[in-house]
Amino acid sequence: MAAQSATATRSGLRSALPLLAPAYLWLTVAIFLPLSAMVFFSFMTELPLSGKPWAFTLGNYAAFFSQSLYLTLLLASLRLGLEVTLWCVVIGYPAAYVLAKVLKGRSREAIFLLVILPFWSNGLVRIFSWAMVLREGGILDTALNAVLPFKINIDLMYSYPAVIIGLVHSYVPYMVLTCYLTLQAIDDSLIEAGRSLGATRLQVLKRIIIPLSMPGLVAGAALIFVPVVGSFMEPRILGGRTGTFYGTVIEDQFVAVFNWPLGAALSFILLAVVLVILAVASPVLRRAA
């Protein structure tokens, strides 16, 4: 019996291989080999094939640990990721709750679509659109000055808050989406049972709704935190001179300073941080699945 199933499994692979090979070959050439190559090159003094002599070195990693600049920037990026994620929870979770539990039928479908519609449209363009709103003499400035009796100057452009606003705007739909999916799955009768047994709204929220929707919160947090830590375009456009983060330093190594091995080492350190975060989040996510 066992032998039979083993042969069945092997013949399954033989039939599956022609269908699978092209897709996975492509992923290997364009994703998995590049990631491995990046790790490899991060231990070199120069890129091979560049004509210059090269040797193995730990220097690129030593640079990270010996110069406090890189560590400071990594911490700044992690803090940015944390702040953006928190804002996305604060803004996105109530919206997901209203979508899942208050709205019904067609209006729910339509509004749900409206919320997630921007998140597939161009992220760069959406970041740029904030420049129109936040700059001095922009819409926010003009509108507030038209309403308020006294003169104020709103010039948030090129500041840390501008980066936060832009990133929250980009990523909050993720949080709404993942929380909506778990909140929708909560049986309404559980909530009613809690209420009829005398629990207050707040108790129902704390004891039933939030614990049951935890997987959605964690999934959303991971989906937001990871790309924000690696962001570079958003701080560049909205942060100006204050927008130097870990991601922008990596970008510089590749497009401005041309120190690719150092860039590879910095990228790999970021990848390691990201993998640790995903590993920490994965038990909660697996429980959800």
Binding site: T9, R10, G12, L13, S15, L17, L19, L20, P22, A23, Y24, W26, L27, V29, A30, I31, F32, L33, P34, L35, A37, M38, F41, L47, L49, I91, P94, Y97, V98, L103, I111, L114, V115, I116, L117, P118, W120, N122, G123, L124, V125, F128, S129, W130, M132, G137, T142, H169, V172, V176, V226, V229, G230, M233, I237, A264, S267, L271, V274, L278
Partner: protein, 262 residues
């Protein structure tokens, strides 16, 4: 009862505030692309000159064509390779299947900054170099996992007995696939294709690292323009992009209800 109604009303109000937050900057950007003042000065005066001047901008036009070409080719390759892989993962059981499925997530989960720089290093190292071909290689790899996930979700709703019935009625493997399975998963394939188009057409980070001055895509060109300084022309081209991507997404939603039902 009273408080419930008040809370529900507040909830609705809150959703509309969120929608305002999500759409306001985009609407303002679009409005500014029709404003006369090149410095975004108010009062608002209507013009279409910024759209007209886009036609004079050869660099932007060639980048736009590159973007469209790459997105179309990416879509074609991804739907074919992705559907084939999803079918294999659905139909056959073999050792290591779980691993193959798990391998679809790193390309989605790893920040594009890391993937993009890794591709740059590797393509440069093996002699592929930068340019449109490298960008295409990258885009297909980024979009493939999405297509496989979407088509696989659709396959979950497929009854395998249908294939067996067709086979027992004398259909060969090709006939079973083309007449029974493919028509059923078509909405998933189309939705996957539209996702692939969107991933490629909107992709900035990976294209940015893989492009060269002559061989570039629209988002990379826009980024370069933004860093030189804002002009209403950027608003105009950005507005076009937003409208195109949102239309595509609405089209996708018609073919593929989120959650895989339908």
């Amino acid at each position: 009862m009273m408080t419930t109604r008040v809370l529900e009303w507040l909830g609705r109000l809150y959703i509309w505030l969120l929608l305002a937050f999500l759409y306001l900057p985009i609407v303002i950007m679009a409005l500014m692309s029709f404003n006369v003042s090149p410095f975004y000065q108010l009062p608002f005066e209507w013009t279409t000159e910024w759209y007209a001047s886009l036609w004079q901008n050869d660099q932007l036009i060639s980048a736009t064509w590159n973007s469209i070409e790459i997105a179309v080719i990416t879509t074609l390759i991804c739907t074919v390779l992705g559907s084939a892989a999803s079918l294999a993962l659905y139909r056959y059981d073999f050792r290591g299947k779980k691993v193959l499925q798990a391998l679809l997530f790193p390309p989605i989960a790893i920040p594009w900054l890391i993937t993009g720089t890794a591709m740059l290093i590797f393509f440069f190292g093996v002699g592929i170099g930068r340019g449109l071909f490298a960008i295409l290689l990258g885009h297909v790899a980024l979009a493939l996992p999405y297509v496989i996930v979407v088509v696989s979700a659709r396959l979950q709703t497929f009854a395998p007995e249908l294939e067996e019935a067709a086979r027992s009625l004398g259909a060969n493997q090709w006939q079973v696939t083309s007449r029974v399975t493919l028509p059923w998963i078509m909405p998933g394939v189309i939705a996957g294709g539209l996702f692939a188009f969107a991933v490629s057409f909107d992709q900035f980070v990976v294209s940015y690292f893989l492009s060269t001055p002559g061989q570039t895509t629209l988002p990379v060109e826009i980024y370069a323009a933004i860093r030189k300084g804002f002009t209403p022309e950027i608003n105009a081209v950005s507005t076009i992009i937003i409208v195109v991507s949102m239309a595509l997404m609405l089209l996708t939603a018609r073919f593929f209800k989120f959650g895989g039902e339908k």
